[in-house]
């Protein structure tokens, strides 16, 4: 069997940063790139099935982006993914999560996996939509925010528990093939060994353009998107009243706040 795991290289911001000249994103030099935290968990969930299976299970990582994202795909290879695919050409620039999902669905049609695991959301823009939109383009069943998965390789249904608000889980059975979006905490993601990191550096990454997947120029980029970034800006935020001084002075003030609270309650 095969599990396809779409991953994203996300960006966090440096302590100081500036909006670029387009006014629609942060300047490249202030972005710190890494594999999306949720994707560590979705990849691990696929690798767990592979490790526990008696039949051969292939885990394929896929991502959409320019050459720099190879670093994140190599991280997936180092952790145990069998293959990695990167989709890109200049026309993909400016795609929203829906256009990205269209590309991922095209890869899934080619790869014909039995399951597709995506992260619930990305830590940088948190649309929480790529995985479920991918399911829509594939016409597959889907479940979001999965915090537990029971699945026997090759089975026609899986049992999942969705993590709802307020500490409640909703358990359901879902037909496969299916798209599941995976929540943090579902497992304990592994670290790659130094040896496997070295091996991953030498592994090939297959690069595909949208056209090779049967998509037209209008399917990706701004014309294939359902939203467009118009402006990005640094908001004026409320700011806590800061307690200055040494740790001892700060703690003394905090103790005062606590005593006052307790006094009021008594």
């Amino acid at each position: 069997m095969k599990i396809l795991v779409p991953v994203k290289q996300v960006a966090a911001l440096d302590e100081d940063f500036e909006i670029d000249s387009t006014g629609r994103d942060v300047s490249e030099e202030f972005l710190i790139r890494d594999l999306n935290e949720w994707d560590d968990y979705s990849l691990e969930e696929a690798l767990k099935i592979k490790d526990g299976a008696t039949m051969p299970v292939e885990v394929v990582a896929v991502s959409v982006g320019p050459e720099r994202i190879d670093e994140s795909l190599r991280k997936c290879l180092a952790k145990g993914a069998d293959r990695a695919i990167r989709v890109w050409d200049a026309g993909v620039e400016g795609s929203d999560s829906i256009a990205i999902a269209r590309l991922l669905a095209a890869v899934a049609k080619r790869e014909a996996p039995d399951l597709l695991f995506a992260g619930v959301q990305s830590s940088d823009h948190a649309f929480a939509s790529t995985g479920i939109a991918t399911a829509s383009f594939l016409g597959w069943p889907h479940a979001a925010v999965v915090a537990y998965l029971g699945y026997e390789p090759g089975a026609r249904t899986a049992v999942v528990r969705r993590e709802l608000e307020g500490g409640v889980l909703h358990e359901l059975a879902i037909d496969c093939p299916a798209v599941l979006t995976i929540q943090l905490g579902i497992n304990a993601p592994r670290y790659a060994s130094l040896r496997s990191i070295k091996q991953a550096a030498a592994k090939p990454i297959e690069v595909l353009a949208p056209a090779a997947l049967g998509l037209a120029d209008s399917d990706v980029g701004p014309s294939g998107s359902l939203s467009r970034v118009r402006r990005m800006y640094i908001p004026d935020k409320g700011r806590a009243q800061m307690i200055e001084g040494t740790a001892v002075e700060q703690a003394a003030r905090l103790a005062e706040i606590i005593r006052k609270f307790k006094g009021a309650g008594a």
Binding site: G131, V145, T181, L226, S227, R228, P235, A240, A247, L254
Partner: protein
């Protein structure tokens, strides 16, 4: 296309509070003669009519569906059918775990303009503009939807005040289209771990986050919480790592700390889900090494400094 369609949310027979927040959010995108219609999907939708009869709602649409609990296929087919029948220019849903399960599929299939986790929306001329945040709440992002006749917005919770003025909207029934669910609801499970703490009734919580660094440090904060008379809580990464049981997690996906009045967050950077779950607390004190941590924008008091030094100094005060 005109009018605003709001999709209310219910779970296990209870209307979710965010439904009434959506009614308030709808007023900001109302233009001229726009009517606000609120649809509720349930096995017995009429039971929600009284709770949804509030000011700002022109029409309540009851939609009887076969699925007792949330099902993504039923929701997608029904909302698509409602939009086709009513032709709204804006559809508002909650940015919730249930909408995570169908909103993107619906928008992708129908070609609606689409944005999630929206906390502000308004018309600028003929363009609907939605504002959300990015990069861990460090920037605001305005998005628009060129050429889209209908726009689906998933609205962040705890931003808009719930509408509560009683009113008498017209009520009409809508026949849901046939849908074939491809998943089957089995049961709801309360996450319990044998730890009998009741975060919901705790008035004073000392919460620890990723900033404590390692599991061995948990004991020190447990002892500190005890000394100052606080209930020990934690943010998601601490519970996920198994350093504290899930029942101690506060924030949106954890327990609702509804009685909390004083919240001391140590080493909690402040993911949006965590902040949303603690927004109601009267006094929040954040202690963090990172002066730019998001939590300082919602905290009442902030302390930038070494977590352990502050914790030790605080311990010696009691």
């Amino acid at each position: 296309m005109s009018g605003i369609l709001v999709i209310a949310e219910q779970r296990r027979g209870e209307l979710r509070g965010v439904s009434l927040e959506l009614v308030t959010a709808a007023q900001a995108v109302r233009r001229g003669g726009d009517a606000v219609s609120v649809a509720i999907l349930a096995v017995e939708p009429e039971q929600f009519v009284p709770a949804l009869s509030v000011g700002g709602v022109d029409e309540l649409i009851t939609v009887k569906v076969d699925a007792r609990e949330f099902d993504p296929d039923v929701h997608q087919a029904t909302v698509a059918s409602l939009v086709a029948a009513r032709g709204p220019s804006v559809v508002l849903i909650a940015h919730s775990i249930d909408s995570f399960g169908y909103a993107a599929a619906l928008a992708a299939r129908q070609g609606y303009g689409f944005a999630t986790d929206v906390f502000k929306s308004e018309w600028m001329g003929d363009e609907l503009v939605a504002t959300r945040d990015g990069y861990g709440q460090k920037v605001n992002v305005e998005v628009d939807f060129p050429g889209r006749k209908t726009v689906l917005l998933a609205i962040r919770g705890n931003v808009f005040k719930p509408a509560e003025q009683p009113a008498s909207p017209t009520v009409s029934a809508f026949v849901a289209p046939a849908a074939e669910p491809r998943s089957r609801s089995l049961q709801f499970i309360e996450q319990s771990t044998g730890d009998d703490v009741d975060m919901a009734s705790a008035e004073f919580i000392l919460s620890i986050g990723r900033g404590i660094g390692e599991e061995a440090k948990v004991a020190q904060f447990r002892e500190l919480a005890e000394a100052i008379g606080a209930t020990l809580g934690c943010s998601r990464p601490i519970a996920d790592a198994g350093w504290l049981p899930k029942s101690r997690q506060v924030g949106q996906s954890g327990k609702t700390a509804s009685a909390c009045k004083l919240y001391i967050a140590m080493g909690v950077s402040g993911a949006i889900q965590h902040l949303a779950g603690m927004k109601h607390v009267a006094t929040i004190v954040a202690v963090n090494a990172d002066s730019e941590a998001s939590i300082f924008s919602v905290a009442t008091y902030g302390i930038v400094g070494d977590l352990f030094e502050v914790a030790e100094a605080l311990r010696s005060e009691f």
